[in-house]
Symmetry: C2
Subunit: 432 residues, 2 copies
């Protein structure tokens, strides 16, 4: 049963049942047993979810649009063509065998919040100071295509469109081909908004541990991602003398083990991982000729990230020498650490306080599309609690009452922006 949302002087109320209905509807696309969700970007399931969202936009008076990298938008014009634009949203794509809330809640809560604000303004006969655009970004996850945040990076100009369209998945299919296949190679040009707000599950344990219902990511960690190939030589695992083997997976194993040691050495300030490992030819009886590692280093401190990358480069060279293989760094993707917009964080605190809550200031370690957008406009990520901190797993869960509460505060923020104008965030907020 959904909790009642506390009263507030802010005159907008979202509809928790409508929000749940929409979450259930969108979860049908790629949803599996035990809460699992497999809705890889630009897949058939993703296309179905996009089509559902597009229909929702049309049915509710939002003008749908799709840009050349497949980012999907729904614009609600409340203030005329020259008024500021507030963009709200997240992503509908998921990890393979992931959860239902990472991304999808941010898109659905945006739909509900904007709808609630429109209805409140209409009911009160009030004029809006701004227009709203709901966004669904392409390939936030980076599961099918790398790098992650692809759609939002093209949108901000951080990535070239042609380069992004040429990225290929593990089957050799390009982003351009995948967009064509589902009919989402769009032609609309959408301007950089005046502010961006993304609601997302925390994906970490801190809100729950501190019994808070709402947070804002105020800092984002930097990330350095390597796609690295070790190149050995295929040979029979039987007769080939051990001394003559050039085993690509052996070099990979050295790096995987040492990367973990590196993180442990740094305590809480560095996260490292090898989440994906491609082995060729991957036959039980053949010494692997090639191993491709997808390596991530993450830290909130630029100097730690830089030192970790130097250490990584040393361990790659040493592992290659020890296993007698060559290596190629196939790509490097660096995302700098930074801060979210103080004015938006302050507004989040204000609307939370109006409903009797204090917000928790968090670091975000995973990437978010709002991190891309923060380079070009005021941006923030609002966080709602994740049960047991779980993310990227079928048991990922944000309770319905927490979904509703976060969506309510999102609507409150949009309502303040609509009624008071953007000066409420540009004139500064409380210190973080």
């Amino acid at each position: 049963m959904l909790e009642k949302i506390p009263a507030s002087p802010v005159a907008v109320l979202i509809d928790p049942a409508r929000l749940q209905g929409m979450m259930e509807a969108v979860s049908a696309f790629g949803g599996g047993e035990g809460g699992s969700m497999t809705r890889l970007t630009l897949s058939r399931e993703d296309a179905d979810a996009r089509n559902w969202l597009s229909r929702w936009f049309v049915d509710h008076g939002f003008a749908p649009a799709v840009d050349a990298i497949g980012n999907q938008f729904g614009r609600l014009d409340l203030a005329g063509p020259d008024a500021p634009v507030i963009m709200v949203g997240s992503h509908l794509d998921s990890q393979p065998n992931g959860g239902r809330f990472d991304g999808a809640l941010g898109v659905i809560s945006a739909c509900e919040a904007v709808l609630a604000v429109r209805n409140a303004l209409q009911a009160g006969g009030a004029r809006s100071a701004c227009n709203f655009v709901v966004a669904n970004w392409t390939n936030e996850e980076g599961a099918r295509f790398q790098p992650s945040l692809l759609g939002s990076s093209v949108f901000t100009g951080a990535a070239e469109l042609d380069w992004a369209l040429a990225r290929r998945d593990g089957e050799g299919v390009s982003v351009a081909e995948a967009l064509d296949a589902i009919g989402y190679a769009g032609h609309d040009r959408i301007a950089i908004p005046d502010a961006l707000i993304e609601l997302h599950i925390e994906g970490g344990p801190y809100l729950e541990q501190k019994t808070k219902r709402f947070g804002a990511f105020t800092r984002f960690w930097g990330a350095t991602k390597y796609r690295l190939a070790f190149l050995g030589r295929q040979a029979h695992t039987g007769p080939t003398p051990m001394a003559e083997r050039k085993d690509a997976v052996l070099a990979a194993a050295y790096v995987i083990a040492e990367l973990r040691d590196l993180a442990d050495h740094h305590g809480l300030d560095l996260h490292t991982s090898v989440g994906r490992l491609e082995v060729f030819p991957n036959s039980p009886n053949t010494v692997p000729g090639e191993a491709v590692l997808f390596i991530e280093l993450r830290s909130g401190a630029p100097e730690i990230l830089a030192a970790a990358e130097e250490a990584l480069q040393r361990m790659i060279a040493q592992a290659a020498a020890r296993a007698k293989v060559e290596f190629e760094v196939r790509s490097i993707d660096r995302r700098a650490a930074g801060r979210m917009h103080r004015g938006l964080v302050g507004l989040a605190g204000r609307v939370a306080a109006a409903r009797g809550e204090t917000i928790l200031h968090l670091d975000t370690i995973g990437g978010h599309d709002a991190v891309s957008l923060s380079a070009v406009c005021p941006s923030v990520v609002l966080a709602v609690p994740s049960v047991a901190g779980v993310i990227h797993h079928p048991t990922e869960l944000t309770h319905p009452q927490d979904q509703a509460f976060g969506t309510q505060l999102l609507a409150d923020m949009l309502h303040v922006l609509a009624t008071e104008g953007l000066s409420v965030i540009t004139s500064g907020g409380p210190p973080q």
Copy 2:
């Protein structure tokens, strides 16, 4: 250009050009650039090669037969139904991106040698003491389905037919389904032969290093193969604290590195490998929840193999504890070390001597179908030189003159058995 084969008192001569023509014909099925061969067992390419062989059998007076595990036979009856049967052959399946000679040369040389012996006997008006069967065994490689030597193991009774038919490839397709799909789920029952001779590329450097043209594998190493799963927990590689991760690939890395140390500790007497590694969900941004390792231990010494397995079990448990994951041993396949038949090795030496060669006695470390057969009948593997010892790689090569010379000695052996009877091998041979 093919060298002339030296004269011999043994009155049979193979046709090197015909042998080359057959090798070229069969290499079309699955052959790619740079000498590569991808003819996975029971694939479309394998079916094409099998159909080609079946037609060759019919065209040359061999009676084709297929048993329930898809082993393909061609019987040439020269001595009446009750006479002894000599089986000759190897396998047409290959590794992914493997070479053209591993297996295929053994089948093609068998065809050529039996044909040459039949022609020589007919030309001389001589009666044969035995019948011949050419064999093409299913799934020798173990690349698509595990374990390797599947067809010959079912044939000898070492593996149950139903169990073998239920093995599944990485896509979930069973052996039974794959046999049905290509029309090779046969019904013929073929008896255990009175002797088995397999010609194979050495796949090692010793013939070339000692400038020998011909060898016989007199001992075979034992092998212990584990399919091992580490079971961690999927989580986001960003926010999930390092201390809370249960990373299945990290445990795999520990085992891969330590297995190599174990082999190095044992010098030349132990080979270890992890040739295949399956990672789930294998997404760059998700801590791996599962890693499946295909581990091999091989040794000629049973006590070393047993000690290595104990060490492996210890390192699995330690790696799991260190990475905070669980593990499951999903299958164990053990093949004992042993010796090939002395009489057949002696006969190989006799025919080589008659053509001015001495044979090199070798260990075989990789499995061969003749190793399966050696449990139920006199068996031997003859070896021809591999350039640079390469095997399971597109550059795998046995020079045409070495192919021809090995095939000639195989024909010589069959001719002696046909004209002198099986007593030449059962009455013992020279000491090895």
